[in-house]
Amino acid sequence: MRTFAFPAEWPLAGKRRTTVGIVAAIVTLALVAAVVSPRADFAQFAQLVVNGVITGSILALAGVGATLIFGIQRIANFAHGDFLTIGAYAAFVVNSLLGQNLALAAVGAMAAVALFAVVAHFVLFRPLRGRGTVALALISVGLGLVIRNGIAIVAGSEIRRFQVSQSDVIELGVVRLAPGQAVAIAVAVIVAPLVGLFLARTRVGKRMRAVADNRDLAAVAGIDIERIAVYVWILAGALAGLAGVMLGLEQGTFDPNMGVGPLFLIFTAVVLGGIGSAYGALFAGLALGLAMELSTWDGFFGGLDAKYKPVLAFVVLILLLLYRPQGLLGRARIL
């Protein structure tokens, strides 16, 4: 199945500025609404910012992996949401069954999902390379079904929770957090910038971006593409594992279907950031999380019913596809 292929268009300059402009406009709009609206409640606003950072970091961390996998391997990984579920269950084993603390559990989750991702790469995706985007996407759908139901068989389908107090409340100024949420926000604030730094400053991070950017040129520049592909799966797995733990903490409970819901939000972040652009996904994930949470703020024209947060994301996705099909930070890529 061939799609339309024109001579590759070069990336357009100044797109990053456009995105910054859009975000600035949204923030300004929110502030104006806050001043104008008599119902503005800044404690609620602060609370929503915290929630938004948590949700946004989850989407950002998962999105970075998904977008790099697409950039390097041309796989739209529909099992990515289920990678998060593996992470949550691996952490659950370390935390609840082995009785270790959450930090160790998170490390265990990252290691487990990274290992799983590498195995999937060698056993499944590498041998089937070149099958076409749709075929590989369907294979990843199959993988997702195997993961989800494999977990349900092995770990049971009942609702699980981590060993953190569900009743304690931590107060940070006007913001009230459950201990699980506190851990999640701490991780978010630390890890998302670290991932950004990793991609910006380390040799491996730069190589990953280089391969996602221009595969042939990366090979000519002396980068071992096969090895970088393995690293990308490790990174994507580890980040998905961590995101899974955070999602479990944020929600309080989880079950084997946990990863199904966030999948399309992750994809939205990937498309929003420009498919294949790691920074784009990081940034777009955070922006999407914040936008979804802040849209429920009373000061924002009375606030959207919390139920419609994913609907908002869907509307954003559709508008984005209409307005700028290559994503905000990315460029037109030819498959």
Partner: protein, 327 residues
Amino acid sequence: MDIFNVPFWTFVAVIAGIYTIFALGLYVQYALTGLPNFGHVAFAALAAYTMAILVIRFASPMPLAALAGLLVAVAFSFVLGIPTLRLRADYLAIATVAGGEIVRYLALNLQGLTGGPLGSIGMLGPTKLAQYNGPWDALIRRIVDALKESSIFAPVASRDFAMLLIVWPLALLLLLVFWLMARSPWGRLMRAIREDEAAAAAVGKNVFRAKMQALALGALLGGLAGLLLAWQIGIVTPDDYQPTFTFYAYLILILGGTTRIWAIPFGAALFGLLYSGTRFLNFFPLSLFDSGERAYLRLLLVGLLLIVLMAVRPQGLLGNRRQLLLQ
């Protein structure tokens, strides 16, 4: 349960017929026209919910409500198609996944309208039991009565058997219609777009319009399958429209052979056999699983099958390998 249980297999056959219609919609979109729709289930859900809501909450006549359900499904295909059909195939896949999830999400959360997790039963609130398929039941009952009077069918006469007599002729009729259409110049146009839309545009074909037709027709068939499922089960709940439903249809297409329309019912039958038949896998070591776990095992096998088939026989069990290898 006995493996030679006629009522059980009758039920499986009804579901296979409904899946045939559902998968036919995906055939038109994906196999014929090359549009990877990963949220096909949304069309079925929208039609079923619209029908149920109109009958229960607005006391509409059921046939009219069913028609409205189909229209809503088609309208949704335009919502998905207009922004994405000009783009690369993978964007459509992502947008349709999102669309499917949104529909299910709304069904779960718009409690006042949809009954929330309870679905149609809860549409009138907790105390009143809501029903939408009175006229359908009457029709089925009349068929059952007629069957009981005939000498041949009397032993097997049941509600499911009556349903079978509606679903399968309808499925075969639709297969015939779309078989004819696939062979017509219209079908040639769709296949041309699947192969290379720039080439079709270069010889004067309106590619966008054609793709929109395929998406809308697929939505119509998906919606019809949703209605039949709603009538068959008797209630509509969000759980009946999980995203995996879409991928069952992909599996049916691949089991049959993606390029052959008449392979769809075989794929559906095979899928029904595999899916339902796994509950008879109660010998050791599978007997170690309880029935709940075996349900997950079934889904796991579906996923595994999808992987293995895509990897080993992407052209399907009955498909044409040579054709697939061409590029």
